[in-house]
């Protein structure tokens, strides 16, 4: 899993390209750290900003997702089965 510093360094465009489950897990971890409450004011605010960015990225992914479909052998590479 990419840690939050690595995610912090990503631009919004790159962040939204990360796998959805990774974004959700990062969001969960950020919230848990905030909720634990054993961080200073500066770190709390940074974590909160991380959370907002991750939430925005998840939300964008959900709204814009389109099912992608690849069909094996369609281009004759592996030889498709005859259809029914």
């Amino acid at each position: 899993m990419t840690d939050d510093t690595a995610l912090r360094e990503l631009s919004d465009d790159d962040l939204v390209k990360r796998p959805f489950d990774e974004l959700v897990v990062a969001l969960q971890q950020t919230v848990h750290k905030l909720e634990a409450g054993n961080v200073g004011l500066e770190e709390s605010i940074t974590l909160y900003k991380d959370g907002l960015r991750l939430h925005a990225a998840c939300d964008k992914r959900l709204r814009e997702a389109e099912l992608t479909i690849t069909e094996l052998g369609r281009r004759g590479v592996t030889g498709a089965e005859p259809e029914e």
Partner: protein
């Protein structure tokens, strides 16, 4: 009828319409058609074998008239016979007769007089080979179960958020459309990899195995769906093929099998990590619902906000608590200082008193000591006599005549010699 000609019949006493006796060779007995058919019918009815008979054949051209009965032709390569399946028996039959179906029928043979045909009256009908096939199914199931591939312990959980899902099914028809529809609505974040195959017919089993293996060679798959729509027992039979079942069990990632309808359970279902009742259900079981995901991430955001607000509230609460504690402590410090001052005063006084008493005692002791000192004794007129080696002379007999003595008096020393000794004179001194 000509009852006046009984002699022409071989058995005049038994003659009746139901049992006409063949006419004598010489004089033809002309029968009505009805008589003929009745005669044939009675012959057939009298035959014990024809009254309780099993026949195997292929159904041809079944018809379903409004009466609710079913009529068809049963045939094999060389012959055919009409058959009737009445409404009540049709309702009890395990399959509905269709053209080309091979069946085993139980019933009786009777003549149908109005048409002059004999036909098979069916009281039960089962697909041919069903018994054999069921036995083969059970044998294979037992054999495969013994290898452990159906064990619950082998079953892997389906990943919660699969990124890449492989699908093995026919690319034409409702099943593939249903699966993609479900996933578009439910989890469009997924990437689907379709490995197309035929799913019925004699070549279906090896084709399904090849389609599975093509998927198994794909990188980074999270789950696989093997699906087929509903169909007859024969249509679904390839999912009981040992090669297919073993290929399902070999899946490198969790595999969901959704074949036919709820009630169709194939051996491939047993080998799967998860059995879905239908293809659409397989797609649902493979994925989370994006609508719920939106709710989940929304809640996470709320929690982040609450946590940050909570952070500030906690810190403010901490400061308030410290302040209250300090306020509570302040009067105590004053009191303590007062107590300390009191103690110092009292201590000082106590020490002073003590010193005074000690000083008085010391003076008294000094007086006493002075009284007891040798100097004071000498002052009172006593003298101390010592020998030359410094011993104080206490006993007159301890010194010899002529020995030198040094006598210390109150002021100065007298050097002298012993002229005479006696052990008397002490009383004189005290007198």
């Amino acid at each position: 009828m000509k009852p006046e000609q009984p002699s022409l019949w071989g058995e005049p006493h038994h003659r009746d319409e139901a049992e006409p006796v063949p006419p004598a060779r010489t004089v033809p007995r002309i029968l009505r058609v009805t008589d003929l058919n009745r005669r044939v019918r009675s012959l057939l009815d009298a035959d014990a074998i024809l009254a309780d008979i099993w026949v195997e054949g292929e159904i041809s051209q079944p018809s379903y008239p409004p009466s609710g009965h079913c009529f068809f032709t049963l045939k094999d390569a060389n012959s055919q016979v009409r058959a009737a399946l009445f409404r009540e028996e049709l309702a009890r039959a395990p399959v509905r007769p269709v053209h080309g179906m091979n069946v085993i029928i139980h019933g009786r043979v009777r003549a149908y007089e109005p048409q002059g045909v004999y036909q098979l009256y069916v009281d039960s009908l089962t697909p041919a080979g069903a018994g054999d096939r069921h036995a083969r199914y059970e044998a294979l199931r037992a054999e495969l179960a013994a290898t452990g591939i159906f064990e619950e312990a082998r079953k892997r959980p389906i990943p919660r958020w699969p990124r890449r899902i492989g699908v093995v099914t026919s690319p034409v028809g409702a099943v593939w459309r249903d699966i993609t529809n479900v996933l578009r609505r439910r989890y469009p974040l997924a990437e689907l990899i379709l490995s197309p195959t035929i799913v019925q017919g004699a070549t279906a089993a090896p084709a399904i195995v090849r389609a599975l293996q093509r998927l198994y060679a794909q990188p980074a798959l999270d789950a696989i769906i093997l699906a087929r729509g509903g169909g007859s027992l024969e249509d679904l039979w390839c999912f009981n093929d040992e090669r297919v079942v073993r290929a399902v069990a070999d899946a490198p990632v969790p595999i969901i099998v959704g074949v036919g309808h709820e009630s169709d359970i194939t051996l491939a279902d047993f080998a799967a990590d998860l059995r879905a009742p239908t293809p659409s259900a397989a797609a649902e079981l493979a994925t989370p619902d994006a609508a719920q995901l939106a709710t989940i991430i929304g809640r996470l955001r709320e929690r982040a906000t609450n946590a940050l607000a909570g952070w500030a509230t906690d810190r403010r609460g901490f400061v308030d608590a410290e302040e209250r504690a300090l306020t509570r402590l302040a009067p105590d410090i004053g009191a303590a200082r007062q107590r300390a001052a009191d103690l110092i005063d009292r201590g000082g006084r106590a020490v002073g008193d003590q010193l005074e008493r000690r000083r008085a005692l010391l003076t008294a002791t000094g007086e006493a000591l002075r009284t007891l000192s040798p100097a004071a004794t000498l002052e009172r007129g006593y003298a101390v006599a010592r020998t030359t080696d410094g011993r104080i002379v206490l006993d007159a007999s301890s010194v010899a005549v002529g020995a030198a003595l040094r006598v210390t008096v109150a002021r100065g020393t007298v050097e002298t010699r012993v002229e005479r000794t006696n052990d008397e004179g002490t009383e004189e001194l005290l007198a």
